[in-house]
């Protein structure tokens, strides 16, 4: 279980300081927890704080009761946090097989790598020896990014807008990936998303706006209100 206690984050913006997150607290206990909210509300910052890429100005992060606030990215990864980047990173020279093997923490066989790639809808044979470089499309890179967190099989996986750039591959396949992942790891999956179909599978939905938690409740409690406010732009403001 992941718990955020009173997390704030202040970023330097020129000469002034800008508050990105303000006293955010919540728990991730259920299999699927979604975070949603308008662009610029601080959702990606939150994901980076959980992964250890950013350090909060205030507050604590607990993973199964252990305070991990001071731990590095590497130490958190080793404790069982996986993080799928919103913008996947390109590597000149590293192949898809290299990257998925590094994610798994061991040299994988060709068939093991293939099975992870098939899960994200890539025909494995065509990709396994490809370099993770600019020759791959944004959608291909995004699926390989998801394959890397699949290969890790850890207790907490954070997806930052997994649907962005997924091109022709369907949302349904993405949802199947999450479900299979949970079956295997029995861990928690935290998904930052705007997509109604992804919010539809969430056990809990947390709405962040202007750096604060606006709503936090079960899907049944939160989703109808969200959809109503989207349908009516006046209410959404």
């Amino acid at each position: 279980m992941l718990e955020l206690q009173h997390i704030s984050f202040v970023a330097a913006d020129g000469d002034t300081n800008k508050e990105i997150l303000d006293d955010v607290s919540f728990r991730v206990e259920e299999p699927f927890v979604a975070i949603t909210g308008p662009n610029g509300s601080g959702k990606s910052t939150l994901a980076k704080i959980i992964a250890g890429i950013l350090t909060p100005s205030e507050g604590r992060i607990l993973l199964d009761g252990e305070d991990i606030t001071a731990l590095s990215v590497t130490d958190r990864a080793r404790r069982g946090i996986s993080y799928a980047f919103q913008q996947p990173v390109r590597f000149k020279g590293l192949t898809v097989k290299d990257l998925v093997s590094l994610a798994a923490g061991k040299r994988l066989t060709v068939s093991e790598v293939c099975s992870y790639l098939s899960e994200v809808g890539l025909c494995a044979r065509d990709y396994i020896d490809r370099e993770v470089n600019a020759s791959l499309s944004g959608g291909e890179l995004k699926r390989i990014e998801i394959a890397t967190v699949l290969a890790r099989e850890k207790r907490l996986t954070v997806f930052d807008e997994p649907e962005a750039g997924i091109d022709l591959w369907s949302f349904q396949s993405l949802i199947t990936v999450f479900e299979k992942m949970h079956e295997r790891t029995k861990g928690n999956i935290l998904i930052i998303s705007h997509q109604e179909r992804i919010l539809n599978i969430a056990d809990r939905i947390i709405v962040i706006a202007n750096g604060k938690v606006q709503k936090n409740g079960s899907r049944e409690e939160v989703l109808p209100g969200l959809l109503a406010s989207r349908a009516c732009p006046v209410l959404a403001k």
């Binding site: 990215v73 990864a77 996986s82 980047f85 990173v89 020279g93 590094l102």
Partner: protein
């Protein structure tokens, strides 16, 4: 052959034992074994210079020649001339390389001058590795020169690798290509400490349909220095592509000076160059997979140079 010499042979030629096919092993300036085959003849030079002549007949199909050089003495310097005569239509793999282990105080130096006369329609794959080690203060210096003359519709693929160990190197490669000839060069260099590496490629695309593709990838760490010079001359309806990609670390310094000369309106020449440090987000991605920053750096470099 002792353990040290065996280790050097492994590094430069992947040889664990006497190779199959033709070979010539040169150790501290002396022949340490040679074998010719029905298609590939190796002879000592007749002009008084050190080195060998290698004759590859047109009948050769998929055979290999190993010509490694091993130096284990300190304060030893040599200049060796090897000439390759590849007949029309031959298809051959040539594995050259130099390993120096210098544990003395003085400089050990090997300058290999390789000249390729490649016949029409012949195919050559040329693999060259340079490796040096040593626990003394003596410098290891290697200055390979490769001179390639390609007849019509021949093809040569050259892989040249120098990973650590060599203190100073000036690598000169010249190619002159007739119509339809194709030259592919892949260079990989890693320098560290106070090492210096200079690469100087020049390719003349003389005939119509000639093509060259030269790609150099390098990593310069600590306070090492690298210089990369490249010139492609397009003298007809030809295509040339060159790429220089360098990762720079610590206090290293990399200079890339590419030149393209189009001497014909039909010449198509392209150059790409990029020098930069390892991107922070690459390190972060690998760290989110559980690698330390140093492990991430090693993996990125290993991939880049593989």
């Amino acid at each position: 052959m002792d353990e040290l010499e065996k280790m050097l042979l492994m590094q430069v030629a992947d040889l664990h034992k006497v190779p199959d096919g033709a070979y010539n092993i040169r150790k501290n300036g002396e022949a340490d074994g040679r074998r010719s085959t029905p298609h590939i003849r190796i002879e000592s030079r007749k002009d008084g210079k050190a080195g060998i002549d290698i004759f590859v007949s047109g009948e050769t199909k998929g055979e290999s020649v190993h010509i490694p050089v091993v130096i284990t003495e300190t304060d030893y310097k040599e200049q060796v001339y090897n000439d390759f005569y590849i007949e029309d239509g031959a298809d051959v793999l040539i594995i050259a390389g130099c390993g120096i282990h210098n544990c003395g105080e003085a400089t050990s130096e090997h300058s290999g001058i390789h000249t390729f006369h490649i016949g029409k329609n012949a195919k050559v794959k040329y693999v060259e590795k340079h490796y040096a080690s040593g626990d003394g203060n003596g410098e290891n210096v290697m200055n390979p020169t490769t001179d390639i003359r390609m007849a019509e519709n021949s093809r040569m693929e050259m892989e040249t690798t120098q990973i650590k160990g060599v203190d100073s190197t000036v690598r000169t490669t010249r190619g002159v290509l007739a119509a339809g000839a194709e030259l592919v060069i892949r260079e990989k260099i890693y320098t560290h400490g106070k090492q210096f590496a200079k690469t100087d490629f020049s390719v003349e695309l003389d005939g119509d349909g000639a093509g060259a593709d030269v790609v150099s990838r390098s990593v310069a760490a600590q306070s090492s220095r690298q210089e990369f010079y490249l010139r492609i001359d397009g003298n007809g309806k030809c295509h040339g592509h060159s790429e220089c990609d360098a990762i720079i670390m610590d206090e290293a310094n990399v200079v890339a000076i590419p030149a393209l000369a189009a001497n014909s309106v039909d010449a198509e020449l392209i150059h790409e160059a990029a020098i930069g440090k390892i991107a922070g987000e690459q390190l972060l991605k690998l760290m989110t997979l559980g690698l330390t920053e140093q492990e991430a750096e090693e993996q990125i470099i290993k991939g880049f140079l593989s």
